[in-house]
């Protein structure tokens, strides 16, 4: 295999108001023709910078390549003048971005934007270009390409846009495709479709792909080789098989172990790397991972390890040779970095009583469709449509489903943050839908929320101590020393230094902020906590820390959770029972294990199969859920899933299935459960 791209000792600096920062240092990696290389690493490790450096796009962001070479097909891109560089961009190498919605210019049609690229590089007529665009759109699996050609980005769904983006990147048959987290913003079902598309295209065109992801599952599924980055440096490079079989760097090992798999022991403590990625302007001496590494020695603290070759893999660690050989490397839990390993959760699962805390009856939440003036009220979005279920005391109820299926809405209505259109919500024997004003506010102390975006959920002008104090002041009228000690107690409980209560939210990392969010949520000793995508925005290693924390707190405080997430592994790991939502309906409710082992609803099955997994071979994932979730303003008749269901019958189209008990505690709304 020939080398397509060779990166040698690449360093990039950014000029910022606070001075120059070195974003990546001495990156060396290469991609062969037809190969798929994955770049993985935590957020902020420099993956995107690397990819933009390859395209020399950082020139436009005050960035500068300070060192190194970038050879594409033998040409050094680093020294190319801008006008020659343009010949490469789009033509020889192309890029697909994470957020397709914002990667397109919103005021031009999709077709125009793809066509523009073709005309720029291949000097063909408009007609010809248009034909090619339509072909490309067809190729990437967009139905009605002629019509889509004329559509604006805002008129298409995320999945469709990502396909269009891929079509655009392929428009001039590049040799190298760089995809920066191409599926992160998409639902698992769509993600699976896109990944498959990429693989097909690669085979067809013999593309080389540099895929950037923070999801090791994806890497496992599609990469030939994997490059692991940490804090601006490459720490390990190996073939996918080797890497998953035997990670060579403590960081890689940590990442791999942090991921809850679909077969991890539910409720057990997850492994997690302690701490979080250091910021670029306060990097530690020596090995950059040293502060978080359980195996760090004095040597590591003083001298940075070079990226050394071990056969056909490269590792930047002084001790990897010795470590990989040790017993605990692959299965040792004795080195878990969490100070006090506990098995509380196991205890808890025994003692769970089945008294319902929340009972929901025929709950509906309709939003009026705006902008239709005269016909207002006629058309509605059925965000939650006739949902009944209950949540037992001390249990964790997981909620999964594609985006737009109504999970968050259900959560909000449950807590009466929004009023239900219809139906009742009983909390501890009290009908919440009848409460108002002060009465409602005072029940609020028993139900708290952890938000997805920990940063946004704090008033940026408040010290975090004050934010945590807010509920205490509102409900318990705590003051002075009492308040103070309670805040400290809470911070300690979530594993933060109590002295930090004087800091502002922006001074914390994402994981720390989420801990603060949790501290605030548990301040009043609530009975119930709604965690809506509470860990989705976090890196896997941090995600594991938070999940552990949540479980630990549940044990200590006897909490009940509703846990909404689209990461199925995490939901499975933490939940006792799981509800699956589709288009405003609960289509299946089951205990965690049985849901994953024997999904009864085809939709559930499809979701589970879409999850990329490390432990599963590539070929296994043969079946994808096709198409996208329909609009909740005009849901399909009968079974709402029938448009995408592989087992659809005419009955499904006409008759709406009700939630039925299949086994004890296992309910599904399907005429023909699996």
């Amino acid at each position: 295999m020939s080398r397509l791209l060779e990166i040698e000792q690449l360093s990039v600096d950014f000029h910022t108001p606070k001075g120059s920062i070195n974003a990546i240092r001495d990156i060396t990696l290469s991609i062969n023709a037809g190969e798929t290389v994955c770049l993985v690493g935590e957020s902020g490790s420099g993956k995107t910078v690397t990819s933009k450096a390859i395209m020399r796009l950082i020139d436009h962001e005050n960035g500068q390549i300070t060192k190194g070479r970038l050879l594409l097909d033998g040409t050094d891109i680093v020294t190319l003048p801008e006008h020659e560089l343009r010949e490469f961009r789009g033509k020889k190498m192309a890029m697909v971005f994470q957020e397709p919605m914002s990667a397109f210019d919103p005021v031009f049609t999709i077709g125009h934007q793809i066509q523009e690229t073709i005309i720029e590089h291949d000097k063909v007529s408009k007609r010809e270009a248009k034909d090619r665009v339509i072909q490309l759109l067809k190729k990437v699996g967009i139905p009605d390409p002629e019509q889509r050609y004329r559509q604006y980005p805002g008129e298409m769904s995320g999945g469709m846009l990502q396909r269009a983006m891929i079509a655009m990147s392929l428009s001039c048959q590049p040799d190298l495709l760089i995809a920066d987290e191409p599926t992160t913003a998409l639902d698992v079902t769509i993600q699976a479709q896109i990944l498959q598309l990429l693989q097909e295209l690669q085979e067809e065109y013999g593309l080389s792909i540099l895929l950037i992801t923070h999801d090791l599952g994806i890497a496992a599924e599609i990469a030939d080789r994997i490059v692991v980055m940490y804090a601006g440096e490459v720490v390990e490079e190996a073939s996918a098989d080797d890497l998953f079989a035997l990670p060579g760097h403590p960081y890689t090992r940590g990442l791999l172990r942090s991921i809850p798999t679909l077969d991890s022991v539910r409720g057990s403590k997850l492994y997690s790397i302690k701490g979080s990625i250091p910021s670029l302007n306060s990097l530690p001496d020596g090995c950059r991972f040293q502060t978080r590494c359980p195996f760090a020695t004095e040597h590591c603290k003083q001298e940075a390890p070079p990226l050394a070759e071990y056969g056909d893999r490269k590792i930047a660690c002084w001790r990897s040779d010795e470590l990989v050989r040790s017993d605990f490397w692959l299965n040792g839990s004795e080195v878990s970095v969490e100070p006090e390993p506990s098995n509380l959760s196991v205890v808890m699962s025994e003692s769970k009583d089945t008294k319902a805390l929340f009972t929901v009856h025929h709950l509906r939440k309709y939003y009026p469709l705006q902008g239709s003036g005269l016909v207002r009220g006629h058309k509605v979005i059925r965000a939650v449509d006739d949902v009944s279920f209950s949540i037992n005391k001390h249990e964790t109820f997981g909620l999964v489903g594609e985006s737009g299926s109504g999970k968050s809405t259900l959560g909000r209505v449950l807590l009466q943050l929004e009023r239900a259109t219809q139906g009742t919500v009983t909390f501890d024997g009290q009908d919440l839908t009848k409460l108002k004003g002060t009465a409602l506010r005072s029940v609020r102390q028993h139900m708290q929320t952890i938000f997805q975006d920990p940063y946004g959920s704090f008033d940026p002008r408040w010290k975090i101590g004050d934010s945590i104090a807010e509920p205490l002041k509102v409900h318990q009228k705590l003051k002075g020393a009492d308040l103070h000690s309670r805040i400290h107690e809470l911070l300690e409980l979530v594993g933060l230094d109590p002295a930090w209560s004087e800091r502002y939210p922006h001074e914390f990392s994402g994981g720390q902020r989420q801990r603060i969010g949790i501290a605030r949520a548990i301040a009043l000793n609530p009975k119930f906590i709604l965690a809506d995508e509470a860990v989705s925005a976090l890196d896997v290693s941090v995600q594991a820390q938070i999940i552990n924390l949540l479980q630990e707190l549940q044990g200590k405080l006897g909490l009940t959770y509703m846990f909404i997430a689209h990461g199925l592994q995490a939901v499975r790991h933490i939940s006792d029972r799981i509800g699956v939502m589709y288009l405003g309906k609960l289509v299946e409710i089951a205990p965690s294990e049985s849901l994953f082992l024997q999904p009864a609803h085809p939709y559930t099955q499809a979701l589970i199969k879409s999850v990329p997994q490390i432990s599963r071979g590539r070929e296994e994932r043969s079946y994808h859920l096709q198409g996208e979730i329909p609009s909740p303003s005009s849901p399909p008749s009968g079974c709402r899933f029938h448009t995408r269901c592989p087992f659809v019958t005419s009955r499904c189209r006409e008759e709406e299935p009700q939630l039925r008990q299949l086994a004890s505690g296992h309910l599904a709304a399907c005429h023909f459960p699996l």
């Binding site: 950014f14 108001p17 992160t184 929320t449 940063y455 008033d459 940026p460 002008r461 509102v474 925005a537």
Partner: protein, 300 residues
């Protein structure tokens, strides 16, 4: 209608795309930073003039050296003398007090009233919002200067009336900005977080919404100081200026404008004073805007 879905996506995105928070390159010592400091100094100087004019002005602003009228700028009279024989520099220095008063007081009054109704409107929503916004629309359709003109011409020229006129005409602008900001803050997660904790709407408003909504109003107010001075001088031009012992810049400018061909310095210096001050205020306001921009706040 897809807002909710989109916003949860956007949150997801804000983490993932390391969109470098609007990096504004700042060299060690650029021309624009020179001007920023210049502007700050000028404002400081003007404030000093307004507070202790006697320290700066070489002459009394009311002293009429009738044997030295219409003298061009010289060492003795930096800005020359006017048709009364007053030292223009001294008049400008002393006149800063009233000018600044017009600027600050009308911003204060207009901003306070406009800000309050905007906040009420944005926070209360519903029919209150509709009502206030319609009223605001009504004010908007009447160009500010006409409103000011009507009020000033009806009430007669006095410093207070000018302030009132300018303030009233600026209300709709403040109200609109405040309303939009309050609405956007109200939709932020931390406000929902406070609500979910059980804080009452009034508590939420005072503790979260208001403090976070003030910065655009501040920026607008900073810039509004300049605009008010300009509107005030426009009123002087239309013959509704105030007559005080020491004229404010606008009055000075508008009264000296007839001398432009024979004694250019009379209206040039107060004109420059207005322009330079408004310019400085705008430069500072712009910078303030960059700093307090809610976008910069969220993504810091």
């Amino acid at each position: 209608m897809r807002e909710e879905a989109v916003s949860s996506k956007t949150l997801w995105r804000t983490r993932k795309t390391v969109s470098p928070p609007a990096i504004r390159q700042k060299g060690k010592f650029t021309v624009s930073s020179l001007f920023l400091y210049g502007a700050a100094l000028l404002i400081l100087f003007t404030l000093t003039c307004a507070v202790v004019p006697g320290w700066i002005a070489p002459y009394s602003p009311t002293e009429m050296l009738t044997d030295r009228i219409l003298q061009p700028p010289s060492a003795a009279h930096l800005f020359g003398t006017d048709y009364f024989g007053r030292d223009i520099f001294s008049v400008v220095v002393h006149g800063s007090r009233d000018s600044l008063f017009i600027g600050f007081a009308s911003v204060l009054v207009g901003g306070l009233i406009g800000g309050s109704i905007g906040a009420l409107s944005g926070y209360a929503g519903g029919w209150i919002d509709t009502l206030i916004m319609r009223l605001n629309d009504i004010l908007m359709t009447i160009p500010g200067i006409l409103l000011a003109l009507a009020i000033a011409s009806a009430l007669g020229p006095s410093l207070f009336n000018i302030v009132l006129a300018v303030a009233v005409s600026s209300i709709p602008g403040y109200a609109r900005v405040m309303r939009a900001q309050v609405m956007s803050i109200t939709s932020r997660t931390f406000v929902k977080a406070a609500a979910s904790i059980g804080a009452s709407p009034i508590q939420i408003f005072w503790k979260h919404v208001l403090p976070n909504s003030l910065s655009p109003l501040l920026v607008m107010g900073a810039i509004g100081i300049g605009t008010s001075i300009l509107t005030g001088s426009g009123l002087s031009f239309l013959g509704l200026g105030v007559l005080r012992e020491v004229p404010d810049w606008g009055t000075l400018l508008s009264q000296g404008r007839g001398y432009l061909t024979v004694a250019w310095w009379i209206c040039t210096f107060p004109g420059l004073a207005i322009t330079a001050f408004v310019l400085s205020v705008n430069i500072i306001g712009d910078r303030l805007r960059d700093h307090l921009d809610p976008k910069n706040l969220t993504q810091r």
